[in-house]
Amino acid sequence: MPTDASAAERSGRLEVRKTYKLYVGGAFPRSESARSYEVTDAGGGFLANAAMASRKDARDAVVAARKAFAGWSGATAYNRGQVLYRVAEVLEGRRAQFVDEVSRGEGLTRDRAEQTVDAAVDRWVWYAGWADKVAQVLGSLNPVAGPYFDISAPEPTGVVAVLAPQRSSLMGLVSVVAPAIVTGNTVVVLASERRPLPAVTLGEVLATSDVPGGVVNVLTGRTAEVAPWLASHMDVNALDLSGAAVAEGVSWSALEAAAAENLKRVVRPAGTGGDAVEPDWWPTPGLERVRAFVETKTMWHPKGT
């Protein structure tokens, strides 16, 4: 846990600091570029060095996500729900750590940080419960004018690249990752540039719950550097631009234009016109984010003897 030097003096023991690495394919590599950057607290104090992911790390993360897709999307909805609920359990167990990271990173009071972490865990549980209901709510049996059984059901879009919200480093993160993976997508998430620590810790939570490696891949680094590679990647099926709001040097319209090359499904950042704002993540969401990353598949079959 990063802290200041005086703590060591007070306790008389030199503390063991944590290294924040990437989370890719179920492992925790450093950036292949061997770069890192300084993460500070809200007041500018040093918190940790985070790995500064490169385009090649992004590429590796997409490969890992693609590899994990068949297994995760092929799992039963019940199983995905169980696995995601397990994540919530492990999140809860790390509550103190998240409170510490959120409070320092976002400059929140301890009380507010605790509320935030609690809400984030609850949000995760909310989405976990959707796993085996989405198909019933978004699917349909279609009464076609002929002797056919005709059914439509949502299926995961594939690999989703997510720019995590810049300000809300845990609540926002959970609110964009959970709806993508609950239906069977796999995700490459680019953490909040300045507040990446909860994302890395979430990676550790995922690694120690039952989520298969590669289902969620966490990159930390410069949004402006990495996001274009994700936006233009031809093996990424969807792009969530939520974190383009208030990201330094990032043009969401350029990212959306790059995403057009393979017709990614794009979730634009909140806001009006060309502006992008980070929304309030607290209100209970609807199914918009789940819906954004599913494809409706319709199947026909004749009925006869």
């Binding site: 076609v144 350029a254 393979n262 017709l263 499904r265 598949k297 026909w300």
Partner: protein, 478 residues
């Protein structure tokens, strides 16, 4: 010479009363374009000029969008859902009442066989209006929240393969949800949309709710990029779809895209083989193969490939290619010279790359644009004819050995619109359908459409769904 020769059975053209020229349909009336230019719509079967239609310029598009905005603000968005629905029911009935006229006109302008425009395009178009009419006052039950709101003005650009039906797919849900529309029909097939404009007048649809701007690509671009358009819906090629997606990047316009495909039609060795052959034929030769969801890649299990291909060839020998207005025509004219050139070029590439080309003996008319039904065997996934959308009556036959291989080959494409599966074994069908990355999977059937049934693609075949409850999503804020 076959013993049983069908005498010509042409549908009469007399039912269609074409004017020499048409203006734009804006704000409830036909107006001359400010652009002052026009395009000719010809019959692809005879190359005869059918009519001249206006080519809308940017200022004409602007005029239409302003009319749509006015209608949205002043009338349509204020009307109750029940009243909107009644207008749509009226339109549906008018399409049925004028079905013969619409069918003949569609076959004249598009080149498709009259039996298809008569039995598929026109009745389906009416069915779409009927279906969405009923939704207009029930939107709160659509799963889009308690109070779904319309988006505003929809700019819609449709292709030439199903001119009237694509119009219905676009306009019916848009209007049901409370939007107003500006629709651009395809450059080569504008006439049924103009007849539809007359139907809007007969239905007393308030002026400006539906506007039809004819023209080519530039007209479409002006419409899509118009700043006062809230929603863009496009059906057409993937290349143009990508351009549109790029041009709308960074805006707040909602978009749905229905694009190309390279559908795989998987025939397992236990398929009901006679019906599979019919499905293969229907999959690729329906509408001259001008179908985005065509089953253009036949993936047949190697142990039955020879038998299936033999049966297919025997069947193709009975296809009747020719006059679209003849009621016995199975395969009509290629829609345009440009499309014919594209098909010809790709078929040549198939030969050059070493695939084996076959067509049944058939006499093609000397004028107009024609292409004989064509089957390529010995095709591999690296051949252009196995990868690129031909959008014509050209089938590529590939083989597979195991279900895994079938699925892998079927999915090995940037497209993801449709697929077919043929087998008598239920669990194998479901297993296969689960793994196909395609928006529509037809099992033991092919090319079936219904207004209640969502249709649309994965991957580069576009996004959004048309049809069913899902089709409302594209036209509602929620």
């Amino acid at each position: 010479m076959p013993k049983f020769q069908y005498a010509p059975a042409p549908e009469s053209r007399a039912v269609v009363d074409l004017k020499p020229s048409y203006g734009l349909f804006v704000d409830g009336g036909f107006v001359d374009p400010q652009s002052g230019t026009s395009i000719k719509s010809t019959s692809p079967a005879t190359e005869e000029v059918l009519a001249e239609v206006a080519e809308a310029g940017a200022e004409d598009v602007d005029r239409a969008v302003r009319a749509a905005r006015r209608a949205y603000d002043r009338t349509w968005s204020r009307l109750s859902g029940a009243e909107r629905g009644k207008y749509l029911f009226r339109i549906a009935r008018l399409i049925q009442e004028r079905s013969r006229e619409l069918a003949v006109l569609e076959s004249l302008d598009n080149g498709k066989p009259i039996k298809e425009s008569r039995d598929v395009d026109v009745p389906q178009a009416a069915a779409w209006f009927f279906y969405y009419a009923g939704w207009a006052d029930k939107l709160e039950h659509a799963g889009l929240g308690p109070n779904p709101r319309p988006l505003g003005v929809a700019g819609q650009v449709i292709p030439w393969n199903f001119p009237l039906l694509m119009l219905a797919w676009k306009i019916a849900p848009a209007l049901a949800c409370g939007n107003t529309v500006v629709l651009k029909p395809a450059e080569t097939t504008p006439l049924s949309a103009l007849l539809f404009a007359e139907i809007c007048q007969q239905a007393d649809l308030p002026p400006g709710v539906v506007n039809i701007v004819t023209g080519a690509g530039a007209t479409g671009q002006a419409l899509v990029e118009h700043p006062d358009v809230d929603k863009v819906a496009f059906t057409g090629s993937t290349a143009v779809g990508k351009q549109i997606a790029r041009s709308l990047a960074g805006t707040r316009k909602r978009v749905t895209l229905e694009l190309g495909g390279k559908g795989a039609n998987i025939v397992y060795d236990d398929a009901p083989v006679d019906q599979a052959v019919e499905g293969i034929v229907n999959g690729i030769f329906f509408n001259q193969g001008h179908v985005c969801c065509a089953g253009s890649r036949l993936l047949v299990q190697e142990n039955v490939a020879e038998d299936v291909v033999d049966r297919l060839k025997r069947r193709l020998a009975t296809l009747r290619v020719g006059d679209p207005l003849d009621k016995n025509t199975d395969v009509g004219a290629i829609n345009s010279a440009a499309q014919l050139a594209r098909i010809t070029e790709l078929a040549q590439a198939g030969e050059d790359e070493g695939a084996t080309r076959w067509s049944p003996a058939c006499e093609l008319p000397s004028t107009g644009y024609w292409f004989a039904p064509t089957v390529f065997t010995g095709v591999s996934n690296t051949h252009r004819i196995a990868r690129e959308e031909v959008f014509g009556p050209v089938l590529s036959v590939l083989t597979f050995r195991t279900p895994d291989e079938a699925v892998a080959k079927a999915n090995n494409t940037p497209y993801g619109l449709s697929a077919g599966v043929w087998s008598d074994k239920g669990s194998r069908i479901l297993w296969t359908a689960d793994r196909l990355r395609a928006g529509v999977v037809w099992a033991n059937t092919f090319n079936r459409f219904d207004p209640t049934s969502p249709f649309g693609g994965y991957k580069e075949s576009g996004f959004g769904r048309e049809g069913g409850r899902h089709g409302l999503e594209a036209y509602c804020a929620h």
